[in-house]
């Protein structure tokens, strides 16, 4: 009988693929943000505030944040699977990572739509 570990991999392609798709989304956002920050006018408070007041920027940033959360989850899960062997400790850390990422995502929404 195959021993299934609750904190093991899910033997699937989904996480692997999600990590790569979210990476591509974040890469595109990073380049756009870099062009805006470096190519545009000096960043003063009105410029900064107006940038994040625009609808496309809010949605793009939310997409980035959601991608980051998913991407980081897969990455951290990989790291925990490699280095933390006891199932209880690994599960505890995995839950902590998920809670942190969910909290960060909620905070991001709050920052963007204040």
């Amino acid at each position: 009988m195959v021993e299934r570990v609750v904190t093991g991999a899910h033997y699937g392609l989904r996480d692997w693929l999600a990590q790569r798709i979210t990476a591509a989304i974040m890469a595109v956002y990073s380049v756009i943000l870099l062009v805006v920050l470096v190519g545009g006018m000096p960043i003063t408070y009105p410029v900064w505030k107006d940038l994040f007041a625009q609808g496309w920027m809010r949605v793009a940033t939310l997409l980035f944040a959601a991608s980051l959360a998913w991407h980081a989850w897969v990455g951290l899960r990989d790291v925990l699977m490699d280095y933390v062997k006891p199932a209880g400790a690994r599960l505890t850390l995995e839950v902590a990572v998920l809670l942190a990422l969910a909290g960060y995502l909620g905070w991001t929404v709050q920052i963007l739509w204040r």
């Binding site: 890469a27 990073s30 408070y45 900064w48 980081a72 990455g75 942190a100 920052i111």
Partner: protein
């Protein structure tokens, strides 16, 4: 024929000293472990970066306080490390995406792209650091 004086000590175990001093990681291996380390650093920094984004967008006074905050040398140093982490994670990640597509998997190309990843991410860090300062 191998005798006791020329034969290498086998089996070899992965002790800390072996990892640090005896086993030399090839360049693609360094890119890989640095990708992991930079990813962990970035994850650890999310809370701090969100805090700064929050304050900087909350009010003009908050923006100015963050501007003064990032002027502190120690904060700049940490930011520089994070900028490197981002650049390295970005460049190495793109390299891994190509490897996933079976591009550049032969040894000479893999070594060359590792070097390119290292150099480009350091150059990007230097440029962005110069912009920050």
């Amino acid at each position: 024929m191998a005798n006791a004086t020329t034969r290498k000590a086998r089996p070899k175990y992965l002790s800390l000293s072996a990892l640090l001093f005896e086993i030399r990681l090839p360049l693609p291996g360094w890119i890989s472990i640095l990708h992991r380390i930079s990813g962990l650093l970035l994850f650890a920094a999310v809370l701090w970066l969100l805090f700064m984004l929050d304050r900087s967008l909350a009010s003009e006074a908050g923006f100015e306080s963050i501007r003064r905050y990032v002027d502190l040398p120690v904060v700049k140093l940490v930011l520089l490390v994070l900028i490197w982490s981002y650049c390295h994670h970005f460049c190495a990640g793109i390299r891994f995406l190509f490897l996933d597509l079976d591009k550049g998997v032969d040894l000479p190309t893999a070594r060359l792209t590792s070097l390119v990843t290292l150099v480009v991410s350091l150059a990007l860090t230097a440029w962005l650091g110069w912009k920050l300062w």
